[in-house]
């Protein structure tokens, strides 16, 4: 056994390329997995930790209607009901201006006296800013005193005891940093202020966002009995969970993308492993003849794979950690764009993640090496098989492998149709689809190459034909490279087509939805009523709509209520999907009924005629669903209610945004300026924009969200390029004799390099062509299954020829890049080689 291992070690030492490529394949695959895992995990952990820090020992939350909870109820709980483990919270978004881009933090208005029963905030005192008492005095008594994490302060250039501007509800407020959190950045997304400061800034005297409270199970019933109408008691952990669940689909998709990279990496490892076995045929034959058993050969190859897997795994983990840090930025940005405020200071390494990477490396290497190892073990003693014998074997197996691929395709279809809702099933189907294509591609390629050969002959003569024929003839080498490249390229085609279709749908939806000419709004709500009056009374304004968005958390989920006062001409902006708009709208205006967005309906299994229960100020109440409407809003989609209906059930009068319909749309720019000027007059910084401006902004956020997707599939393409590199290099090494012959027959170096380049280019083209059906199939599954199941969106699929052509070009380019060095190397083949005897 040790001699066998020594022999294999010696072989690998003399073939560093093989060794390097096998390790590189594992490294690349593991790195991407680790990177995505770390980025996701760190984002999740940061969110949970920061929420843990701000939830503390609270088990429940008392929440109210859109305008919150009456603070008198809080005082009652303390002074009359004897509850002691509770704290009031006033929460909102706060924008800190910064030259590098404004930063939105969560303003947390807290009562530090009450906090000590639930949470343990710790502060760093200023260096010389005086006693603890001073700090505390100022935090409590000096309006505008705030605390942020040290990292946030550094990033935003905030200094202790200096004042800076915070924009809350569109109003500029003066804040002063009195201390920083003494934590490891957990509270990076928070701006802590005294509850009085928060109420002053929000201009919401008397109202709390919620009451955090610690209750045990046997206190619940009695406590619920005390709740005023319109207030509800929520489980704190449940709320954290439902907030986090919003990102589930997002993170699952990222993980799926990372698995794709490992899959491509897997092909790479298989490639290298089978090649090392192939090259060692004589060695293995000799060893077998000397009495080494099949099992020993098997163990030697598998053991070799395990060692390489472990090395690649370790390197992959290291590379993955580095890559994870880069990815984390994009993940955090997307979560901030789409879901909630999140500040993540750095990646968190967990033993589990590292173990996962290592295990993935070893397991992938073992899986990939299993087939070659079995094959090697099966070699008869001493026989040195002619290469064409193996090719013959591969060629005969191709149709059967392809049949297995077809069977997998059927299985993929079954998986898709087995469940209508399971996202996981959708992703499994995608992987089955990829595998089925992977198995079919060599067969397709063999046929395509057959078709290509005469064409090549016509274009480039026998030498070109020689290059192309070489592909089909040496499928045992090239097939896997083609598959890896095809899978990577098909992912780019699939994702590009999906994103492009999605973008198109969003764009036309935006065009329809943004029916007013000018919009003004405050992200956190609360436009000054006087400002509303002034704006809507502008001469150019013919009509206006208002909207208010509010989020209700409930036992197991959340509901975003969008309250709209429609302008007379504005109804067309909402596309009713399953009913006659002419019938729906009058009822919606009049009756206690609502519309639900398509994703919301999908997620909650709602249909026209069902009802949505909403917590009104006078208790829960069922609102019948009149119809569903189209929406691509990530988490804004929910329940649409007429303002007049809302006003009957809630006291909240807040308006978040206003749409202005002008007598002349061409005056939009001028009106935007006028609205901004009015905002300044009323001392409220409202966001004002023409509908085109919003459309552009929305699309730019849309695009930003998919940056990470782009990065991931480029990584997959990168791994595939490495695969091509390895395969071509191996092929050139193997073709050494043939190349030497061609050289001796009089082919110059550049002619030979060109010949090899033609071969790789053709491999790329074949991979690109093979990738088209898979790419389009993937796009279809992504659009019709994954997006639908993850987000509930209906997207019109639109295959732009440019993406398909681009995919093929990408494949050719990738192959040429990967094949560049092998081609150059081939040119240097010594002609004398061919003269030597075997």
């Amino acid at each position: 056994m040790t001699v066998v291992l020594k022999a294999s070690a010696g072989f690998l030492r003399r073939h560093p390329w093989q060794l390097g490529l096998a390790v590189l394949g594992i490294t690349a695959g593991v790195a991407v997995i680790i990177a995505v895992d770390l980025a996701n995990g760190s984002a999740r952990l940061a969110f949970l930790e920061s929420l843990d820090a701000v939830t503390g020992e609270a088990t429940h939350q008392v929440v109210g209607g859109p305008d919150g909870v009456d603070e008198a109820f809080y005082a009652e709980l303390r002074t009359e009901r004897g509850y002691t483990a509770l704290a009031p919270i006033v929460e909102s978004d706060a924008v800190i201006r910064n030259p590098d881009g404004d930063r939105v933090l969560t303003l947390l208005g807290a009562d530090l006296f009450a906090e000590q029963a639930l949470r343990d905030y710790r502060f760093n005192p200023g260096d010389t800013s005086g006693s603890f008492e001073d700090l505390f005095d100022r935090f409590l008594t000096a309006p505008g005193s705030v605390v942020v994490s040290e990292q946030t302060a550094d990033e935003l250039g905030l200094r202790l005891n200096e004042s800076f501007t915070v924009v809350v509800r569109g109003r500029e407020r003066e804040a002063s940093l009195v201390a920083t959190f003494a934590d490891a950045g957990t509270l990076g997304a928070y701006l802590l202020a005294d509850i009085a400061t928060a109420q002053e800034w929000l201009d919401s005297p008397g109202r709390l966002s919620r009451i955090d409270i610690r209750l045990n199970e046997d206190e619940l019933a009695a406590f619920r009995a005390l709740l005023p109408d319109g207030n509800r008691l929520l489980h704190a952990a449940g709320r954290t969970q439902s907030t986090l669940e919003m990102t589930d689909a997002f993170m699952i998709n990222l993980n799926a993308m990372s698995l794709l990279a490992l899959l491509v990496g897997l092909f790479l490892i298989y490639n290298s492993a089978s090649f090392t076995v192939l090259q060692r045929r004589p060695l293995i034959g000799t060893l077998r003849a000397l009495g080494v058993t099949q099992r020993q050969v098997l163990f030697a190859i598998v053991g070799e794979a395990a060692v390489l897997g472990a090395i690649g795994g370790i390197l992959g983990v290291l590379l993955g950690v580095w890559l994870g840090e880069k990815l984390l930025f994009f993940v955090t940005q997307s979560i901030n764009d789409l879901y909630f405020r999140l500040a993540v200071s750095d990646v968190r390494l967990s033993g589990i993640t590292l173990a996962k990477g290592l295990a993935a490396g070893v397991v992938a290497a073992l899986v990939a090496a299993a087939v070659p190892a079995l094959e090697a073990a099966g070699y008869p003693p001493r026989l040195t098989m002619a290469r064409s014998t193996l090719e013959g074997k591969t060629g005969r197996a191709l149709p059967w492998v392809a049949v297995a691929g077809m069977a997998l395709m059927a299985l993929a279809w079954l998986t898709l149709t087995a469940s209508e809702t399971s996202l996981l099933a959708g992703l499994v189907a995608i992987f089955l689809l990829i595998l089925s294509f992977a198995l079919t591609i060599p067969w397709i390629v063999a046929h395509l190459a057959g078709l290509f050969a005469p064409l090549a002959d016509r274009l480039g003569g026998v030498t070109a034909r020689l290059a192309v024929a070489g592909i089909a003839a040496s499928l045992s080498r090239t097939g896997v490279a083609v598959v890896a490249l095809a899978v990577a390229v098909s992912a780019t085609i699939g994702v590009s087509v999906m994103v492009d279709s999605f973008r198109g749908s969003v764009q036309s939806w935006l065009e329809r939805t943004l029916s007013a000419d000018v919009y003004l709004g405050l992200p956190s709500g609360g436009i000054d009523p006087d400002l509303i009056e002034a704006v809507t009374e502008l001469d150019a304004v013919e009509a206006f709509s208002t909207s208010r968005r509010t989020l209700f958390f409930d036992g197991d989920g959340q509901t975003r209520l969008i309250v709209i006062r429609m302008a007379p001409g504005g109804y067309g902006g909402v596309e009713i999907l399953d009913a006659d708009p002419a019938e729906v709208w009058p009822r919606w205006d009049r009756e206690d009924a609502v519309l639900v967005s398509e994703p919301y309906a999908w997620r909650n299994g709602l249909r026209r005629g069902d009802a949505v229960a909403l917590p009104t100020d006078r208790g829960r109440r069922d609102f019948p669903v009149l119809a569903t409407f189209q929406s691509y809003d990530v988490n804004g989609s929910g329940v649409l209610m007429s303002r007049s209906v809302f006003d009957r059930h809630w006291t909240d009068t807040t308006v978040d945004s206003i749409g202005l319909y002008l007598d002349d749309a061409a005056r939009s720019g001028e009106i935007v300026a006028e609205v901004e000027a009015l905002g300044r007059r009323f001392d409220q910084r409202v966001f004002a924009s023409s509908n085109t401006g919003i459309r552009e902004l929305s699309l730019s956020i849309f695009d930003r969200t998919f940056i990470i997707t782009d990065i991931l599939y480029w990584l997959a393409v990168g791994v595939a390029i490495v695969g091509i590199f390895g395969a071509m290099l191996a092929l050139q090494l193997e073709r050494g004799r043939e190349l030497g012959l061609l050289r001796s027959l009089g082919m110059t170096r550049s002619e030979l390099s060109g010949n090899v380049a033609i071969q790789t280019g053709t491999i790329g083209a074949l991979a690109g062509l093979a990738a088209i059906p898979l790419g389009i199939a993937m796009a279809w599954v992504l659009i019709e299954v994954i997006n639908r199941r993850a987000f509930g969106w209906q997207i019109a699929m639109d295959v732009a020829p440019g993406f398909v052509a681009g995919g093929v070009l990408l494949a050719i380019a990738a192959a040429l890049v990967g094949g560049a060095y092998p081609a150059w190397r081939a040119g240097g083949t010594e002609p004398a080689l061919a003269m030597r005897e075997e």
């Binding site: 002074t79 009562d111 000590q116 005192p125 260096d127 008492e133 509850i195 009085a196 002053e200």
Partner: protein
């Protein structure tokens, strides 16, 4: 490495009973110039002065009492509500939470039979109805710990005694495992300590407080400990004091005695200790006759001798038995805690406990009960 400060430590620094010299000095000495100081005697008016004096930096309502249950069990209790102004004025605000006032309360029950000393503490801002004090009708509260005019609490139209005598209050305070529900009826009018209520604490003018006491308050009600409820009755004592600045840097703590004798008289004496170990000459007391007439006791009129000490398990040595003599009255008393360990581990450590008093006056036996407060004995930093 910067030191992280938990919020609790911030609160700690606010307590008037801080025993660390620096904290004490910071809080009670050389107060902010913009707070008014107790410089000259003022006219007291009741019940108005039972209410808060928010312009002063600190103020307290300090009730202690010795009670017996109908089953013959002995209890002591303390409920103190402190008020601190963090700034001279409340900033203008639309928010009811904006305040310059902070309230802290300490609650303790001494149960010598079970050798138990139960304590609790509360903090709150004096705002949003969570904590505060009002004069008319009288009330001072923090959360559901409350001392208030019983009549006013029952009906707004109170015929509350205009002369200040006969205050009829209620006291409620509940902690997790014990609670107090008491009715308090003052048997004597307020006694003004010091110079007509101006109590000089150090040599510097302005280092003084306004200080009065209700020295004998008939008390009855319930004490609950765990699930046991005791019907109790006895006498309580109220100390009321407000100031902006009192001690100077050399004054490290005090021993305070409030004694109620069986003959219907009372004696209050506080001894301020200086860092060199001597008794400060501003130490003083008040002797109250059965009919409520009061007379001042200067430090030279009282001789205080420590007879025994008690080592706190948490460090520090407290005096635990005294001889107190008032030669002019031929009064010689021995004062002994009903239980050695009545140390409060609130954010600031101090000893406050029920005591028994025995002795002679002009050769005749006298006895009584009382409360003693000992501050400045815990070694620095031992409370963390």
């Amino acid at each position: 490495m910067k030191r992280a400060i938990p919020v609790i430590a911030l609160l700690c620094s606010l307590s008037a009973h801080a025993q660390q010299r620096s904290e004490l000095a910071e809080l009670l000495d050389a107060g902010d110039e913009s707070f008014p100081r107790a410089v000259e005697p003022r006219a007291f008016s009741f019940p108005a002065d039972h209410g808060p004096h928010p312009e002063f930096r600190n103020e307290w309502w300090y009730i202690t009492g010795n009670l017996d249950s109908t089953t013959g069990r002995r209890f002591g209790y303390e409920l103190t509500i402190f008020r601190f102004a963090l700034a001279p004025r409340r900033p203008a605000s639309s928010s009811a939470w904006r305040s310059n006032q902070v309230y802290i309360a300490h609650l303790a029950v001494t149960d010598p039979e079970e050798d138990r000393f139960l304590t609790d503490e509360k903090f709150s801002r004096g705002a949003a109805g969570l904590a505060g004090a009002t004069a008319k009708p009288f009330a001072v509260w923090i959360d559901d710990w409350r001392i208030a005019d019983r009549m006013a609490d029952r009906s707004a139209a109170s015929a509350g005694a205009e002369d200040g005598a006969g205050e009829a209050w209620s006291l409620t305070a509940a902690s997790g495992d014990f609670s107090l529900t008491l009715e308090l009826d003052a048997l004597k009018p307020p006694v003004l300590n010091g110079q007509a209520g101006l109590s000089q604490k150090s040599d510097e003018p302005g280092n003084a407080s306004y200080y009065y006491s209700l020295t004998r308050i008939a008390t009855r009600g319930e004490i609950r400990i765990d699930d046991e409820v005791f019907d109790v009755a006895g006498f309580s004592w109220l100390d009321r004091e407000w100031s902006s600045s009192a001690l100077d840097k050399e004054q490290i703590g005090w021993d305070w005695f409030a004694l109620q004798f069986d003959d219907g008289t009372e004696l209050m004496y506080y001894s301020i200790r200086r860092s060199d170990g001597s008794e400060d000459r501003n130490s003083a007391g008040t002797r109250t006759a059965a009919d409520g007439t009061a007379s001042k006791l200067g430090s030279d009129a009282v001789q205080l001798t420590v007879l025994d000490t008690w080592d706190s398990p948490a460090g520090g040595t407290y005096p635990s038995r005294w001889r107190l003599a008032v030669p002019a009255e031929e009064l010689v008393l021995e004062i002994e805690p009903v239980m050695a360990n009545q140390e409060l581990f609130t954010t600031v450590r101090y000893w406050e406990g029920a005591v028994d008093v025995t002795g002679t006056k002009g050769g005749e036996r006298v006895s009584g009960r009382g409360y003693v407060e000992l501050t400045g004995y815990a070694p620095p930093d031992s409370d963390e």
